[in-house]
Symmetry: C2
Amino acid sequence: MKKLLFVYLMLIGLFVLYVYQYQTDDTTNSQWSDKELRGTIDENYVMVTFQSGIDYWKRALKGFEDAAEALNVSVEYRGATQYDVNEQITVLEQVIAKKPAGIAVSAMDPVALNDVINKAVDAGIPIVMFDANAPDSKAFSFLGTDNYYAGTAAAHKMAELLNEKGQIGIVTHPKQLNHQERTNGFRDTIASDYPDMEIVATQDGRGDQMTSKEVVDEMIRDFPELKGVFASEANGGVGVGQSVLEQQKKDEIRIISFDTDKGTLDMVEEGVISATLAQGTWKMGYWSLQYLFHIQHDLANDVEAGTNLPRYVDTGITFVTKENVDEFYPNE
Amino acid sequence: MKKLLFVYLMLIGLFVLYVYQYQTDDTTNSQWSDKELRGTIDENYVMVTFQSGIDYWKRALKGFEDAAEALNVSVEYRGATQYDVNEQITVLEQVIAKKPAGIAVSAMDPVALNDVINKAVDAGIPIVMFDANAPDSKAFSFLGTDNYYAGTAAAHKMAELLNEKGQIGIVTHPKQLNHQERTNGFRDTIASDYPDMEIVATQDGRGDQMTSKEVVDEMIRDFPELKGVFASEANGGVGVGQSVLEQQKKDEIRIISFDTDKGTLDMVEEGVISATLAQGTWKMGYWSLQYLFHIQHDLANDVEAGTNLPRYVDTGITFVTKENVDEFYPNE
């Protein structure tokens, strides 16, 4: 009987030790500071876009989701299905009505969303802008591509492709500010850094493949020595590619384009487009969520605050060439 | 005896339940994703500056420390004590030799540190630049003030103070790029947005209080109608303040200065300097550490990577006026 008692006591003793061990471990693991970067699953952050079905947003949403995983919060994707600013306003109002923990918005129009954005911020819902800004709204920060810088990078790449000499053309979309900036960056850099390169023509492709093809057909006729074309947007780039293919100038004319839709990537793979500029959309999504989390958890409020967060983040560009094009096709 | 056995069994049963409970709890708490934003205390990140003793770095270091607390890692502060680039190179080499988890560097010279920075990056030590960049190095990102933008903000503030009319002077330090940018931003904005304001003089204060006072003494003699002066750096601002005080023009001339050293803050409190621009130094430190952590933990590597991180972050500026100046004095 005493033996049995002893065994019981031993067992109890072991359990006590075991439990004690657990408690100690747990205390160590839980030594989180007040500033811990960990939310709760019922904390819901929303990304709001326009033309919400296009591929362009996929990597931004992936970044948003990756940050949510890291921060242990939930995310939701919403957007105007069409290129329609009133639809985007309606969607944003519906999202705000649910009082989410924060919203990342890409603005279809730089002004039209200001009222609804400001209403949300005034109601205590954090908003950051990504990809396309609403600069006069009360949104806390903007994360997107510095288009002027992207234009300068494209110019340096073109110089590298052409050994710093030759005639170049530009196909752009002069009504949109982002395209003006890309074109200016490209033009200023060629003018200041490459005396043996010359921009002989700048044409309006209207963001349209067919129009872009036609203006380049003409450009090639006017300038038979043309060595390169910079297209400031994706439809234009594909149009330039078609023109160059049709006129059997593939080996003579280097094309640099913008963005990474399937048509563009296919032409990069075939060697028709030498390089295209991928925007940092994953980064836009990832850091947007980080910023919203920091506002929601009151983590970035030093004395200097005011906006609490960096005013502007240039998410940068990456060149896509034949070497790395495979990585840019979306995973089906 | 049977009773005693029953009691023992109950006790054991309770312990088993208790332990089981603990295990369940623990599992829930430990459901961390692979992307969790939590490091270990032996993970050491270092901030490296120059003139390391000056107040200017204190808020940047506070941001670095706050991020370290949030991420559960350690930080260290090092720097050249003097304004001496060779000393900074030596310090950086010493830091690298200890193989830290990452280094945030403010470069005394935009070129001289490139070799040592590149050596570290090649050896797998993440480096980001803050406040002062080394743009051609292999550092992953730069976080600092967009000085041109800061100049435009100063111009809008000056317009507000002067009801958009009157003669203005500038005291700057034309040999330094950051001061050229501030001056250009200020000048371009006045020229494009405020037809009734005119910049009548731009003088070199050489970053020196005495020189700045003297050039403004002269400016006030030459332009008795002078209504405002923008000083692009702190010593200049204090010199301008002294000149205006001495010539009893305190109520007639508005001064906008830069940074938040004690002399400047005192003059803001006394109403001699109307506003000064505080740089986002806390943000530089906080987000530098976040970025280094993300490289070290391989958390920001989408396909678009290349640099892994935003190329550039404008940490923005905040106006310090009589209303909020108290918050900007360092806590003694």
